[in-house]
Symmetry: D2
């Protein structure tokens, strides 16, 4: 495990600057609040990056030094450069952890790794949300009781158009009558991915101690795994003796390296 774990906290950072009320909740931006929570943890060091920085703050150099990337976006998903999305995707396949937060369900990168529309139902009604732990032995649930209760949050409801999570850690209850798979683990390539639902910009959710605990746990869970000779693909010599192999059989041409 890398020590310290190097986290890059990415944020769209638009709501906080455009909406005075939201700016009061997150004076350092949502990224600032998340990074603050992570930097308070032993063995984690978090920096931030935002949409309006050059290359969205996600240069090759930054990603090369990132073990886990957290992502918050909402109103400007379309402004994220496809080339940067490709770059992040490549790094996830190589092992970088990815934590998609709240409305990042609809980000280009999350839709790319899921292969689905990631659509859902939503409602802004200051509703109570209760996140029940359904995978109690999972490290992301460490330190969390039977459930996390949030007095007011945006509602997200099923059907949430995602692949079935490889591990489902939380299921949310909402006051208006809906449920939601709100803590979802995936693996893509060598990278681990966690989607975590709460965190609408109009609430102080990212200061909540239990939410911060989940984010810390998720970062630790998502660290890359070091292995010799990872990602060996393409034409491959037999390991066993294939002396019976007729050398006249030649690979067909035309499809290049995989």
């Amino acid at each position: 495990m890398p020590i310290p774990i190097r986290v890059t906290v990415w944020n769209e950072y638009r709501h906080e600057q455009r909406d005075e009320e939201i700016g009061k909740i997150y004076p350092q931006g949502i990224h600032g609040a998340i990074a603050e929570g992570l930097n308070a943890q032993e063995g984690i060091t978090a920096r931030t990056a935002t949409l309006d920085e050059p290359e969205h703050g996600l240069t090759e150099a930054v990603l090369a030094e990132t073990d886990v990337l957290t992502w918050w976006g909402h109103m400007a998903h379309r402004e994220v450069d496809d080339a940067i999305v490709e770059r992040v995707h490549e790094r996830v396949l190589e092992g970088m952890g990815l934590i998609a937060l709240h409305s990042a369900h609809y980000s280009k990168i999350f839709r790319k790794v899921t292969g689905t529309s990631c659509s859902l139902k939503w409602r802004e009604a200051d509703e109570k949300e209760r996140l029940w732990v359904v995978s109690p032995g999972h490290p992301i649930a460490e330190g969390i009781g039977e459930y996390i209760e949030l007095e007011a949050e945006e509602m997200y409801g099923e059907h949430f158009d995602i692949p079935a999570p490889e591990t489902l850690v939380f299921v949310s209850w909402f006051q208006g009558g809906e449920v939601f798979r709100s803590g979802c683990c995936y693996q893509r390539g060598e990278g681990k991915i966690f989607y975590f639902r709460p965190g609408h910009e109009t609430y102080a959710t990212y200061y909540n101690e239990e939410i911060r605990r989940v984010l810390t746990n998720a970062v630790r869970w998502a660290v890359p795994v070091a292995r010799p000779a990872p990602r060996v693909f393409g034409n491959y010599d037999p390991i066993e003796d294939l002396s019976w192999y007729d050398k006249r059989n030649k690979p067909t041409e035309g499809f290049g390296t995989r």
Copy 2:
């Protein structure tokens, strides 16, 4: 279940026309051999479509009448129009089954639904492949014994860079020393997806009775499920009474329909 099940058998159809040896194996094309096998089954009617037809033969009208789409491609993945890939993807999310065959592991549509590189190891050495059933109660394994043995096939080896299959039905053994997850089930949106490994163009694999049985089973498994009011997403009124809801809270603008 739709009766009959309407299958569209898609094929790149290049190798058969360019390489005389391959053309002899599949005089009606790989698509012809697959469609022939499916049309011999009760309750299934298969038509074909190929890359060089207008819109690759996959017009809106054709897809609207397709319950299950099978896909074979290899040397010309890049020539498949992105707009057609989007169209197929949309239909999968709406419920159309998708069966990705052999080198279609590297097709645009399969990479889109998996979210991974779908890279693998490969070798053309006339090797023996043995596909072991590891999910014996799964309908795709119906009628299949302990394993399917193919005297000569291309080798595909792990690591196969896919998401962990939701159900793994077959694991292949290869003479040269490799293994491969060769029968993989996924669900994306309302659509069911099956990847099936065998079927290199230089072998008569698609005439093999056991391979045909698997394809038939997969088609039956992948049929869409009819439901009232599918794919309801977006802003959603509360089902329960939320009279405490402060009407002053308005949805934030700027992120469009989900």
Copy 3:
């Protein structure tokens, strides 16, 4: 697929006989109501069996003619003979479908196939339950809308101590603030298993058309798959030439047939 599908509807059949109110809801017993619903479906024939019959109505002969077994039990789980549980378990591994209903979460057979305590939270408060579809392409959800609403049911809440379902089809919302994984698919041996939550004895749940639709779908999904040479285990000759094999190596004695 067996036609017709032969279902045995098993019921403890105690509450209906002991409690006048419950007897009025289910004058033919819960088993009678379930069997009636199934027998109204094309291609399904259901019979019943109850706890107080000899061998609980589950003789070798009955099980041999059963494709899918549904199980309802509650107050008398402990009275179910361990030998009969073993017999049912053996048949599940051989391919018989098993549908565990409501309080059968705590039956010997369900705990045996899950390997967990199957404990949960519960409350009898005439609460509203809403079962949301979270796996919309699954055949068990066919014909079901966004959710099933039951005006009054017993509450079951998380954490439900089961293995993570191989497919999670429904998640329930309860008025009192809880959620529950209420439609859960498993495979054990060649057999398919579905747990379905609703059906407390004090409610007329098994007359509900949507609940009946789910049970019908589940029966069709759970039918055994016919395969040549199933369940081949034990000492096994090599398929490939192992002429290098030193015949002096003999299996160690002492551990019998696996």
Copy 4:
């Protein structure tokens, strides 16, 4: 995470004492070799327990101080006391990790947590085994290359009658033509379980550095997760206001505490 991780290495310890050749390979017993490997790791402290000790060495006190239990058994599965199996099972549900090794596939405890027969094919022919990594981002694969090669091992072949692993980490290739799911992760209750195939008593497998690395990784992965208020089950008061609740509705009697 507990520091140090307290491991109890359990061994049947019969082959080593009865068979001179095996005794030479493992003069301290298989448990001795495994414990030696674990004790060489930072942050892990391993002790041993064997079948012929009182209570098989698995007293309440020992289990209470065990974070992860490894299990090796073969010829004497039936001699393991059912009461001890229950005790171990209870501890797994409470969070203790369990690592089932090689022929422990057929142990009472592994069959209890899987709910299946755990039968398989086997052959003792000094065959080559190659364990391919199929889940490259999983912590149990850390430090392991494309595959682990063992020059000679017992063959285990599919179909292996287990539930589909929640995560499949390794798939084995055998010289005689078989494959095997040889590294399988499960969760039961709060406990994490790993099955790892290699380790026949006639081979020095537990001295192999790569095998030791996998065992170390598995121990670290399987540590219990600490949570406030774990395992809350049974009758549960509503969290939300259910003032509409008619107090005349009383729980039905007769089924005790869940």
